[in-house]
């Protein structure tokens, strides 16, 4: 009996699972995960967490108005107020105020909503279209493959940003237009990747046997091929999200992305360009740093996942 318990396969599995989870915790990129989580929470609960509204000026007392302008106004706001740690800060808000006296921290939190919403929905939509077309091209072959891949190739010849701007100049600014643009621009990359994957999967035994058993093509695509390409698609997704955020920031910066007065990060930078030239660095630096942190975290997570899920890369 004693022998059997020591060799209990279940026991071995448990200890392996525990070891694996330890390793996971040790190797996982904790800082990027933490940043992503913090930004996600800030975005999700922005109305509850943000000290002020995204469109309202920070309320100013009479003394503060006196301190800034030397007299009092009926509706007074303090623009370009420095963050609390700098000299000359009157309002003492954590990150200062913008050109209309609105609180930077609150606007950044609402801005996280826009960035995350746009980038995630856009890339998910692109992923759905691209994955489906990629599987169709790879599995059905022949005419399907030729037609889909020719279109994909033509799609890929346009640089992402140029393509996005072409579409933006047709559709005009707007939050959902940006989502649409990201979906239209990025699907081709998924399609190309998934097709390659499916070409090898198609020759594997489980697909061959399903075919021999007369399983329908629809069933093979959704029950056998789709689950097997999901790993690759997920990794690619985390890497594309970063690019999508940068494209969104570019569009907003150029004035064809999310329209004002919404606090999109790219737009905030472009609105503060004048103030930046006067040496007020903090106005454009915050949204820029936010974009950087978000994309950096997404990229690091994507890189780590890629290595985790692809054993060949693990020791590189």
């Amino acid at each position: 009996m004693a022998m059997r318990t020591t060799h209990d396969p279940a026991g071995v599995d448990v200890s392996r699972a525990v070891q694996a989870s330890y390793r996971f915790a040790r190797e996982a990129p904790l800082i990027p995960l933490f940043i992503l989580l913090a930004m996600g929470l800030a975005a999700l609960f922005a109305p509850a967490l943000a000290p002020y509204g995204k469109l309202e000026s920070v309320p100013v007392t009479d003394e503060q108005c006196q301190a800034k302008y030397g007299r009092s106004f009926r509706s007074c706001y303090i623009d370009d107020d420095p963050p609390f740690f700098m000299q000359g800060s009157i309002l003492r808000t954590p990150l200062g105020t913008d050109y209309l006296g609105r609180d930077n921290l609150s606007r950044l939190m609402y801005g996280a909503r826009i960035s995350l919403l746009v980038a995630l929905t856009g890339t998910v939509a692109a992923g759905a279209i691209g994955t489906l077309l990629g599987i169709l091209a790879g599995y059905m072959g022949n005419v399907w493959d030729q037609v889909i891949m020719r279109i994909t190739d033509a799609w890929l010849t346009l640089p992402t940003l140029v393509f996005a701007i072409l579409l933006a100049s047709i559709r005009g600014p707007g939050l959902w237009n940006v989502v649409l643009i990201l979906a239209v621009v990025f699907w081709s990359r998924y399609a190309r990747l998934v097709r390659g994957e499916v070409l090898t999967l198609r020759e594997r035994d489980f697909v061959r046997l399903a075919e021999v058993n007369g399983v329908s093509k629809f069933h093979i695509i959704f029950r056998h091929l789709l689950p097997n390409v999901m790993n690759t698609v997920m990794v690619f997704f985390t890497l594309i999200v970063g690019v999508a955020i940068i494209i969104e920031a570019n569009l907003s910066f150029l004035g064809v992305g999310v329209p004002p007065p919404e606090p999109a990060w790219g737009l905030m930078i472009s609105q503060e360009r004048e103030a930046l030239m006067e040496g007020k660095w903090w106005l454009a630096a915050w949204p820029g740093l936010c974009i950087m942190l978000l994309v950096l975290s997404a990229n690091m997570l994507g890189d780590w996942l890629r290595v985790r899920l692809d054993p060949q890369l693990r020791n590189r």
Binding site: F163, L166, S169, L254, G255, M277
Partner: protein
């Protein structure tokens, strides 16, 4: 080889045709080019433009006209300036090429040595530094880097001019900041491709053999490994060059650099549709031609490629 070239040329032509058709389709099925102008321009001018562009005719007539124009190298006239889009474009292109080329050199100078170091010292401090550098490069929007450079070197230190391209061709002071902001992103790319292609070459049998023969390590690296790793690196660098010429839009706006990116931005802001379409099509064509050239070069260098088709 001739057959291979013909084959590739045929595919490139199809890609080109699809590209042109996709652009046409996007524009016509989401309204016509003048609807954007109607909000700002006067009615009579818009009506005249519609007439001139044949927008009242059926789609197939418009398509035929559009294709015929493109075959003759005619991209139509700019709504805004009433000049041929082609002429305006080629007037601006040298500026973009200059900026792109400078950024290309910066991306190579920053990226390739760091990639080589990372590959030689895998999983050391150098390797981690290379990884962080690459990811950082790919994570910051280039217009933000441009703005920060302007604030620091232009406004705070006052060392460099912040706007325009200067007067002479060799005016590096105007060039250096936009080129760096643009090249920085692509240097991240270069670190990655250099590292992975060096690692691949270093794992090959002939490098092991050279090492067994007792050749000094730096000779192994410089003479044998790097030479073979250069093919993918230079391919990506070449592609990057063409992409950089085309995607410097925000950079050109920030630095007021008169290149094709700014042309695209102006076209977009003024609702000048032929301008936007022209710049986009030229960018796509450049890349199709480059891809074709790369395919041919690869086949020329490596016989396995041309025999497999």
């Amino acid at each position: 080889m001739t057959r291979f070239i013909l084959n590739r040329a045929f595919y490139s032509l199809i890609t080109l045709w699809l590209l042109v058709t996709i652009v046409f389709g996007f524009v016509r099925f989401t309204g016509d080019p003048t609807t954007m102008l109607e909000e700002v321009g006067d009615k009579a001018y818009v009506a005249q433009l519609r007439e001139q562009w044949g927008l009242d005719r059926p789609y197939y007539v418009q398509y035929g006209k559009y294709m015929w124009g493109l075959l003759q190298g005619d991209f139509g006239n700019s709504f805004q300036k009433s000049l041929a889009v082609r002429d305006i474009y080629f007037e601006r292109l040298p500026n973009s090429l200059k900026l792109g080329f400078a950024a290309f050199i910066i991306s190579i100078v920053l990226g390739v040595p760091l990639g080589i170091l990372s590959a030689m010292k895998v999983q050391t401090w150098w390797d981690n530094f290379g990884k962080v550098f690459a990811i950082l490069g790919l994570s910051v929007p280039n217009f933000f880097i441009g703005l920060m450079l302007i604030v620091f070197f232009g406004v705070y230190l006052g060392w460099l001019p912040i706007l325009g391209k200067g007067n002479s061709f060799w005016d590096w002071q105007h060039l250096i900041m936009p080129a760096f902001a643009l090249g920085w992103y692509f240097s991240g790319n270069m670190v990655r491709i250099t590292r992975s292609s060096m690692l691949e070459v270093m794992g090959s049998d002939y490098i092991k053999l050279v090492r067994l023969k007792g050749v000094p390590e730096w000779v192994v690296m410089a003479k044998h490994a790097l030479k073979n790793a250069m093919i993918p690196i230079m391919t990506l660098a070449g592609l990057n060059l063409v992409i950089m010429v085309n995607v410097a839009i925000a950079i050109e706006v920030v630095f007021n650099w008169p290149g094709v990116g700014q042309l695209l931005f102006d076209g977009m802001s003024n609702r000048d549709f032929p301008m936007v379409q022209g710049v986009v099509l030229m960018g796509g064509m450049m890349i199709v031609v480059l891809n074709f050239a790369i395919d041919i070069l690869y086949a020329y260098v490596d016989p396995r490629i041309r025999l497999s088709r």
